[in-house]
């Protein structure tokens, strides 16, 4: 059986994928994982997950190009410049005209 191993390096940190081990059963998987990912006190916790149990999703279609949900959906710079120009405050802006 292949087990995916996730390790937490320090308290407060997220579990991160560390690698995979091949073991005949869960008991051996635990022993191998302890040796492979914990023998230098480099982890405070490990998760062992049988590979079949992982439900991977790796496609995220965006048919409607919903750019308003992303930062690249907003173009502030040009319009801010225009607004400052209109207000006559271009020289007051931080960095002056460079903001354009």
């Amino acid at each position: 059986m292949v087990f995916e191993v996730f390790r937490r390096e320090r308290k407060g940190q997220p579990f991160q994928h560390a690698g995979a081990i091949d073991a005949p059963d869960e008991r051996f998987a635990e022993i191998y994982a302890r040796e492979q990912y914990g023998r230098r006190q480099e982890s405070v916790a490990l998760w062992l997950v049988p590979r079949e149990a992982v439900n991977e999703i790796d496609e995220f279609p965006d048919e409607f190009e919903m750019k308003y949900r992303r930062v690249d959906g907003y173009s502030i710079k040009a319009r801010l410049h225009e607004a400052r120009e209109r207000a006559g405050t271009l020289d007051m802006a931080p960095g002056g005209d460079a903001a354009a």
Binding site: G19, A20, D22, E35, Q36
Partner: protein
Amino acid sequence: MDSQTAEFLEYVQAGGQVETGDWMPDEYRSRLIKFIEMHANSELMGVLPERDWILRAPTLQRKLALTAKIQDEVGHAQLIYRVIEDLGKPRSACLDDLVSGKAKFHNVFHYPTHTWGDVGVIAWLVDAAAIVSQKALLKCSYAPYARIMKKICWEESFHILHGRDVILTLVTGTDDQFGLVQEALDRWWEPLMHFHGNPIPADEDPMVVWRIKSQANEEARQQFLDGYVPQIRELGLEVPDRALRKDEDTGTWLYTEPDWEKLREVVTGHGPASAERLAFRRLSREHVAWVERVVLAEAA
């Protein structure tokens, strides 16, 4: 080359990384397996010269440190064989090819050890040469391999420290102890110069073209010389190559051209300790076969 392959090549050359389930050209997969397999085999074969010294280590502390290093290296082999398994070649097939002599392992593990000085030089300089290559593999286009390299490099840094400590103890000891290091360095210099391979230009090296390796052989060797020749010399040790010097104008190290034909012979299983090491690996595989049978039967 078909358009899908050309697109893939362009992708990896631009720094793109590939995951296990992604489509990859057959040539990429087979080169990847061959390269990674040689690495795994080297980790596994590399413990044999050190294993010989567990019982002969000079102190209990050294014995423990050496044992820990050996465990690390076997652990690296396990991690790396796992990567190969996910690419489609089972570990048992890798081990079959290793003991039959079909698959290769690194040149430095085809040589015998004579004294504790060799153990120090191996842990310090062979591991240093290896870490130059392995650090470059952190940028390998095959992401699962690049990821485990992080853990491997981290552990190798302990080995260099251990090796340096062994060397420093010997060179600050008696004249005889100093002599053990110098003699070991004389023995290991040629294999060390061979280690990074012949100076094939990057654009002609398929491993670089596919971005399995991120640096050319000569670049790795220069990095090793730059990092370690000054460290060797500051201890009063002499590198056994009169031509070795750094060209201050170009910043490159000049040296006597190694015998590349000899390297080829060594890695194809004709090194001074090749047959003995493979025979031992074959024997230990037979000896532990029952463990595998029992464990798998119990788990079933």
